[in-house]
């Protein structure tokens, strides 16, 4: 049973599955593949008629995915430890520097309390650990209605928007 929020909505019938093996034989469609498989077989995957995604862990080099961004409907970032903030920057750079427009999904060990900041860094989907956490995430994700900085959702920092 997954506890997925996507673009602010609960999604019950999401087809994407985490595929954790590095054995590239007979890959099912809608698999979120490790970076390693994209590095080794990216060009074949790009030509396949099946849809494939990717998942990235903190120690992975997500830039290996850059040649295939156009083929990736979804990139999932898998949190090993919620206190490791690298994935926030990965997502931000993917949006800002590499103009990736597909889905960026948080999976693994993140907290509902982080969803607000994750959204601001470019994440659009959140696969929560439990039903409870999903409900919390929904209720706290837009807790802040104002912010100082620009980010992937708001192009201008407060100082450019402030009316005195």
């Amino acid at each position: 049973m997954q506890h997925l929020i996507k673009d602010g909505q609960i999604i019950k019938d999401d087809p994407w599955q985490l595929f954790e093996s590095t054995d590239a034989q007979g890959l099912p469609g809608n698999a979120l593949l490790p970076v390693r498989i994209w590095t080794d077989f990216g060009h074949e995957l790009a030509e396949s008629s099946l849809p494939f995604g990717a998942y990235v862990c903190e120690d992975d080099d997500y830039t290996e995915l850059l040649p295939f961004l156009a083929n990736l409907q979804i990139i999932a970032f898998k949190f090993g430890k919620f206190a490791d903030g690298r994935l926030f920057t990965f997502a931000r750079l993917l949006r800002m520097q590499y103009k990736y427009e597909g889905e960026i999904r948080a999976i693994g060990d993140f907290l509902p309390d982080q969803v607000n900041f994750l959204q601001r860094c470019g994440f659009t989907a959140f696969c929560c650990r439990t039903e409870n956490e999903m409900q919390t995430a929904l209720s706290v994700k837009d807790h802040f209605t104002e912010q100082y900085q620009s980010d992937t959702r708001l192009a201008e920092p407060l100082f450019r928007r402030r009316t005195v």
Partner: protein, 553 residues
Amino acid sequence: MYVYDSYDQQIVDQRVAQFREQTDRFLKGELAAEEFLPLRLQNGLYIQRHAPMLRIAVPYGLISSTQLRRIAYISRKYDKGYAHFTTRQNIQLNWPALEDVPDILADLAEVQMHAIQTSGNCIRNTTTDQFAGVIADEIEDPRPWCEIIRQWSTLHPEFAFLPRKFKIAVNAATSTDRAAIRFHDIGLQLVKNETGDVGFQVFVGGGLGRTPIVGQEINAFLPQQHLLSYLEAILRVYNLKGRRDNKYKARIKILVKALGVEAFSTLVDEQWQLIKDGAETLTASEIERVKSHFVDPAYDQIQDQTEALAQLRFNHPAFDKWIQRNVESHKKTGYAAVTVSLKKPGYAPGDATAEQIDTLANLADSYSFGELRVSHQQNIILADVKQSDLFTLWNALNALGLADATVGTLNDVICCPGGDYCALANAKSIPIAEAIQVKFDDLDYLYDLGDIDLNISGCMNACGHHHIGNIGILGVDKKGEEFYQISLGGDSGIEGQVGKILGPSFKAEQVPDVLQKVIDTYVEKRQENELFIDAVHRLGLEPFKERVYATSH
């Protein structure tokens, strides 16, 4: 000082509501302790040895009398009626109950205060010179820049889970550095280029802790409008590359050292080019808007009171000493900046009672335009006092027991809370400070010794900045027993030097005598008018070692 508008207030209010909700969930058992931990730390709440400790932000050390009264009120209502001023220009409450913290934060928000990012692995309170804006020797007032950084770093979505804490300091004075910028993750020195434009000389990778390192320059002149994009580039490189496998190697200083400053700055430049001239480029109107909050107060056009003061000083030797040690000259004629020493034998350095805090707030209203500053030496500054009011002010402080004329002397100890309060401590620090203050309590003797920074930390985390004290004392644990390691020659100023360890460590009861020997050596060997720190640098450690470790006759 900076006054919130509806946007600033809204952000702080929503932060309070968010924390209230998180605390509720934790108390209901829906949030695990280790998950609540980073959430509460980002709001300044530690669970300490005896009780939670709440660290309240005093942005760049500036606080109004109204805010200070609120601190006194909170300390009475929720705590034991006193507060602690820290070496990072913040305020700590040592005994609040967890359940009360959301209410405390709401009380703070009413007076435009908060505890956001006063702890945790995020960007902390930006600090600066306690005399910012009132001294003549200044490129320009650094406080607007600190406020600009405060806003940018507050609830920054990308940098809330850094490898480790991150501290930025700004200095604008040209001949001194009271903000110790070379010992911060990022140090910003305001500078003017040949064409008279104001910008920043940027240092990176300084810090204390286990591995004290002096920050290195990575940009000789950063034009001011690029400040935020450049900071963002540095933070981004750090967030990506900083070590996360070992918390003692996680500070940016280790990364800069490992990569070398050249390679590090290349990475920063790469990131910077992506965002330079982007949305975070500061606009002239924003810089003006923030600066407009820091214009001079309504100073009277008055003359210096040198002669009237000379007479009073002659008649009142204690007042004379206080003027010498605790009063700083001011950019405006007829005014002075007064340091109120919060160091008193028998009290923890930086502690003040609610009554003292209230009275200080009243004094600020009467004599200093209702504003105060907290210095990293854990003292309070009234920055805009008329010279003609100095004698009355001194009398008022005297009545409070706050007129000790010891600022800058050996008695003006910087000291972390140590083993009495802090769960991380290896050893107590406050009793050491007290023992030293008791031993060196003769004012004339202290004045003869002149400026000596004595800094004490209860463990390697170096909250008492022991590395950069002219004399540094560090609590260490030897097989469960408390010992103290002594170092000499540290300097937090423009020279930026880390002290050198004298030798094997001492037991608590030996420390005052060891210090006496160090001081005796200085007194014997000093040249005319030579400061302690200069004598240590000239002589080296040898003569001090010889005296301290000489086998007794």
